[in-house]
């Protein structure tokens, strides 16, 4: 594999089989993710961006879904390796955060247990070591009073805090790849910018590659070096963010860009 390439997806096709007629939702999806880069994946809802992301994270159930193509990570095809091998990568090398931090956290478990869980699954650390690690990561995601937060339940936290907890859980194993599926959509605008800044900081400090999925083009513009635009299951355009934004080739991309509100969010995020 080429130098610095972490993940290579080629010809990914996803088909659903829970209806009488099989339904394809993703066609010929290609993606290369290099160490430490942030790649944006944009498109309206139903365009297949979340499906592709879930497939990469190994979270599409195998029964009613057919996947073709390859997802190469570390010389292994994630689509054909065993469940056990996949599990040893999930939450360890590749982790994921989701759109709704409230429902994505287990309502009846304390924050500490939820953040600590990947350590229990993937490491042999003892109790104190795990505690130290959890405390460290909670500080790193800039939660105030982490000792208190870890004893709380998800419903006792604000939306922004919950997403920070999700990020802490995803980052605790220092994964190579973080897949962020619309992580700010459910949050207020001010919290949004904080979370985006946090993701940027973690990316800079830890060299974690981020696949950032969003329907918000201005966010993607401010965060990502490269971008892929999806429509109806196809990637219609891809390239460096600046190039795609300044000189869109596809009619659809032009429309998406034209739909961005006039206030320049790029400046809001970059200059703060």
């Amino acid at each position: 594999m080429e130098n610095g390439v972490l993940l290579e997806v080629t010809d990914l096709n996803i088909e659903f089989h829970d209806h009488i007629i099989p339904e394809t939702v993703v066609y010929d999806f290609d993606l290369t993710l290099r160490e430490g880069e942030i790649v944006g994946l944009v498109g309206e809802s139903g365009s297949g961006k979340s499906m592709s992301a879930l497939a990469i994270a190994g979270l599409l159930s195998r029964k009613d879904m057919k996947k073709r193509g390859q997802i190469y990570y570390d010389g292994k095809d994630l689509l054909s390796i065993s469940r056990n091998e996949l599990r040893s990568i999930q939450g360890n090398d590749i982790s994921m955060i989701f759109q709704e931090p409230l429902t994505s956290l287990n309502p009846v478990k304390k924050i500490y247990d939820q953040v600590e869980e990947p350590l229990r699954i993937h490491t042999e650390l003892d109790k104190e070591q795990r505690y130290e690690k959890v405390l460290k990561i909670l500080k790193e995601v800039e939660l105030d009073d982490p000792e208190h937060v870890m004893k709380q339940y998800p419903h006792e936290l604000s939306g922004g805090m919950r997403q920070r907890v999700m990020i802490a859980t995803a980052m605790i194993m220092e994964p190579k790849i973080l897949i962020a599926d619309e992580p700010t959509t459910a949050l207020d605008v001010t919290i949004q910018s904080q979370i985006v800044k946090l993701l940027k900081k973690l990316n800079a400090q830890r060299k974690t590659a981020i696949l950032f999925i969003s329907h918000d083009l201005s966010l993607v513009n401010s965060l990502c070096e490269r971008v892929l635009v999806m429509k109806d299951g196809y990637i219609v355009e891809s390239g460096p963010t600046k190039q795609v934004f300044n000189d869109p080739k596809e009619e659809y991309t032009k429309k998406l860009i034209a739909a961005i509100p006039k206030i320049d969010m790029t400046k809001v995020y970059r200059n703060e």
Binding site: A57, V108, K109
Partner: protein, 315 residues
């Protein structure tokens, strides 16, 4: 803590309403206890003397509170038919019925939880389908009929126990438990099927929750996701059901005792109903209701312990 206290207070109020209801119902409809005790051809003088003695001429509320305080002290009144203290009549029967109820409850939990987990995990599999069909059928069997079937199969055909036989818990505890096992099974089976159905449904709907996806994304195995994440969420509606089921089990034991010929509270209750022995009926009904209320309160408290959101909303 405040939540538990609030629940206890609510329970006390309900106890008072229940006992008042029972007391007034029996006093309004049951007629004159003096006549019940002495018979219809007693002389008016003797009846009046007895009424005075039993304070029957006092207002009903005063009599109620006198009865309630006596009840709390453990004085349940005197049986019309046997002229002995009600508490002497029923005290040694309570452990019989209680053992049967507890045993049935344990059986129900032990049967339903593993089956509920298994069927939800292998949805659409052979075992799942068989269980769904069996469930629907067993659910339709009244407990006394399942008792008759169990007597027939285990008692008559397999000869594992003597139908109609019984040994007291004071003479042979092991034998007593053995004789309690089959009636308990008869009560537990229909309830267990409902619990399986509920737990399966509850778990199946949990599979679609976002937090389950998160749990998988951490590298959990399916069993890890089920036992460490889903079960605690899915068990919440089941806890409420188990509480209600325990109520039904206590009531169901009255009937199943008749099938298996077990001398528990149910047998005395029924003979007292046909003898119109009201103090006994009242006492047993109040005791069973109190058992039920305590169970309900415990369920509420357990629920709040399992679900952190409850006590939070209460604050």
């Amino acid at each position: 803590m405040r939540y538990a206290l609030k629940k206890i207070v609510t329970m006390m109020i309900t106890v008072i309403v229940v006992t008042l209801f029972v007391y007034i119902a029996f006093n309004l409809i049951s007629g004159d206890p003096a006549i019940s005790m002495l018979g219809t051809n007693a002389t008016p003088e003797r009846l009046n003397a007895l009424r005075e003695e039993m304070h029957l001429n006092d207002p009903v509320l005063i009599r109620y509170f006198r009865w309630l305080f006596a009840l709390i002290r453990g004085d349940l009144g005197v049986s019309y038919s046997y002229k002995i203290g009600v508490s002497d009549m029923i005290m040694d029967k309570i452990p019989v019925t209680a053992t049967m109820a507890v045993m049935a409850f344990v059986l129900m939990v032990v049967i339903s939880i593993p089956l509920g987990i298994h069927t939800s995990k292998y949805q659409g599999g052979v075992i799942d389908r068989v269980i769904i069909i069996l469930n629907q059928i067993i659910m339709s069997i009244p407990p006394f009929f399942s008792g008759i079937l169990i007597t027939f199969i285990f008692g008559r055909v397999l000869k594992l126990f003597t139908p109609g036989g019984y040994v007291s818990y004071s003479t042979d505890p092991a034998g007593f438990l053995w004789y309690m096992f089959f009636p308990s099974l008869a009560i537990a089976l229909p309830k267990a099927t409902m619990a399986v159905k509920l737990l399966r449904g509850s778990l199946v709907s949990e599979y679609n929750m976002d937090y389950v996806r998160t749990a998988y994304s951490k590298g959990n195995t399916t069993n890890g996701v089920i036992y460490k994440h889903m079960l605690k969420n899915a068990i919440l509606p089941v806890i409420t059901f188990l509480g209600m089921a325990l109520t039904d089990i206590i009531a169901g034991s009255i009937i199943v005792e008749q099938v298996f010929g077990i001398p528990g509270l149910g047998r005395i209750l029924l003979s007292s109903i046909s003898n119109r022995d009201y103090p006994v009926v009242m006492a047993i009904i109040v005791i069973i209701c109190c058992m039920v209320l305590v169970v309900n309160m415990l369920v509420d408290i357990i629920y709040s312990l399992v679900d952190p959101r409850i006590s939070f909303e209460d604050k």
